[in-house]
Symmetry: C2
Subunit: 188 residues, 2 copies
């Protein structure tokens, strides 16, 4: 399993044996079953998570019980309640598993410690954060200027694998359309 | 003017004289008039911009000429076509000045060079990017689960200064509502 983390990090930063040996013990590996939580509302959020296998969703539930999906994460994607994690506040969103999952966890303190000790680790997270920012800007633009069918088509083009794995009502909750609207689309 | 940049950076990273003396020449200062462009569509995007004074908008224009505002930036905010800047592609959005502006520019190559030479500079941009990511997630959630009036109220609470400075039709283009809808709101 160590191979996964090393391969993931080395997509951006080549690592010596010594560097990886230093990094590795700061991560722990979790095995989660479908429907289990990684983050629950109003709890402190001490970890950022990297999915090795499986699929999770990060979502907000309004007082009427309606779910709004902020993010999916599958293999090689990072997930957390980033607001709570970075600002050291309580969770306002929840993260749970859509499938059984193998997940790497890194605590806030360890993230900061390893970033300070190893500049290339900080470089890795700067680049990851930049790419995440860009993806969110694209999503905002599509929420502003695309209709529901266009947003669905864009999602299908960007994430064909998610489309196969994720129940339609979750995709609807991600796109901001009703399940009924989605069912009328030309879906793939 | 050097004081502004130093003060801005030192909000996150304390700098020695020597460090700031190293950083400073990598930035250039631009004076722009209202309506002048920082970034135009289909051009390469080689700089990231920090606003010292004034206000700019980053926006996409659809084929019918309708504007969708991705971001405003006023004093102490960073702006660019981040997708084009980080991915080294051509601009798909434009950035122009809503007011006369004083703006600090940092090129991609200089950003990477200084980040590599001075880990705390990389730390600065990792933290900035994380905060930006969190702000965009909050905006996505509000686009998914808030109606137009609620989004306006949230904007007014978060950015009272922008509300005073920016024409209503631009706020409408940021919130994803029509100018007519906005004019019916309980605006402040």
């Amino acid at each position: 399993m160590t191979d996964f983390l090393r391969q993931h990090l080395e997509e951006l930063i080549p690592l010596s044996e010594e560097e990886f040996t230093y990094i590795r013990p700061h991560f722990s590996v979790l095995k989660k079953r479908k429907h289990q939580f990684l983050i629950q509302e109003k709890q402190p959020v001490n970890h950022i998570y990297l999915v090795e296998q499986g699929c999770v969703k990060a979502y907000h539930t309004d007082p009427e019980g309606k779910e709004y999906i902020l993010q999916f994460a599958m293999e090689h994607w990072w997930v957390s309640d980033f607001q709570a994690f970075f600002k050291r506040t309580e969770a306002t969103i929840e993260v749970d598993c859509i499938e059984d999952a193998t997940i790497w966890a890194l605590s806030y303190d360890d993230m900061e410690k390893v970033c300070a000790a190893l500049p290339k680790f900080e470089h890795f997270f700067r680049k990851k954060s930049n790419m995440g920012y860009v993806a969110l800007q694209a999503r905002i633009l599509s929420l502003l200027n695309k209709n529901a069918q266009e947003r669905y088509d864009q999602f299908a083009t960007l994430y064909p694998q998610l489309l196969q794995r994720i129940p339609k009502q979750l995709i609807a909750a991600y796109l901001g359309v009703s399940r009924e609207t989605l069912s009328r689309f030309n879906t793939r």
